[in-house]
Amino acid sequence: MIKDKNAQEEMVGFGIIIGIVAIILLIFLWFALTDRDETSLDDYKTESFLQSALQYTTECEGSNGFYEINELSFECDKRRSCLNGKDSCEILNTTIRETLEAAWKGESSVKGYSLNITSDGNELMPAFVWGNLTGSSRGAREEFPKPGTLIGFVFKIYS
């Protein structure tokens, strides 16, 4: 009877030790999994890209000089032409597509990308999509308001 009781006590003791170790392990795992700061790097790159690309001076000239991509999107929204008669949307389309290709197609870590341009929430032109749009994506968003219009750019890279 006493022997059984001792064995029971030992079992309980062992169980408590296992329990404590399990809790320590869980705490460690929680720290190990939440400690990593992976979010900012790709986001930072996509943000810099979008900011820089939208300031690109296009070939479309208006009355106040050559338009940058963000300004040209307003011209495209209003379906206005450039001074040389070229279609603003066509130049916007070509410039953005080539900019995206030049910047991202050589990046080995990038499997695909997408860029959507909206005017007041409606698609201004078909989205620029390349490669494999996997489940893992990072992105950036820029918005440019003008009286009566809000142009939005949403860029995502997939890895």
Partner: protein, 166 residues
């Protein structure tokens, strides 16, 4: 008998802790290599941004208001003449600004003779080689058309190279 049981229990508990320790150590060490490379990439990105926004590189207010991540290529090309003065100042072995778009058919390094018909501006430091990475910037300059000056901004990448900490 009881001492024997206690000894066995102690050995079992010690073994258990040792195994847990090995597991924890293995888990930690497997992530270290990844952490190092992520940290180097982060350092390069931050250094590139710091350099792009420094007074010697940034556009300031020269191009229609203040711009973020904007590099004045006219300034940088002049800076090339003072490479020796700035030795060790930037915290990088070398700085390269590579124009991404519009694309030039042949890579051409810029100098005062061929500027702006080139796509790579190099600012060399005292040591070469090491870890290299960078960030996107807008590369602006003053261009002219029919005698009038206008702002011409292009897409570029500012790459920094620095020595790895061993």
């Amino acid at each position: 008998m009881k001492i024997q049981q206690t000894a066995f229990l102690l050995i079992a508990v010690t073994l258990f802790f040792v195994l847990v320790g090995i597991f924890v150590l293995g888990f930690r060490l497997s992530g270290l290599r990844g952490d190092v490379s992520a940290l180097e990439e982060k350092n390069a990105l931050l250094l590139a941004t710091r350099i792009a926004n420094s007074p010697e590189f940034s556009c300031g207010n020269s191009y229609d208001g203040e711009r973020l991540n904007c590099v004045d290529s006219d300034k940088v090309i002049s800076l090339k003449d003072f490479e020796e003065t700035y030795q060790g100042f930037w915290g990088a072995s070398s700085i390269e600004i590579r124009k991404l778009y519009p694309i030039l058919s042949v890579d051409t390094e810029c100098n005062s003779g061929n500027y702006p018909n080139c796509n790579i501006i190099n600012i060399r430091g005292e040591e070469q080689g090491g870890f290299s990475d960078g960030n996107f910037v807008t590369l602006c300059r003053k261009a002219s058309k029919d005698g009038d000056s206008y702002d011409k901004c292009e897409l570029a990448k500012l790459l920094v190279t620095y020595q790895k900490v061993e």
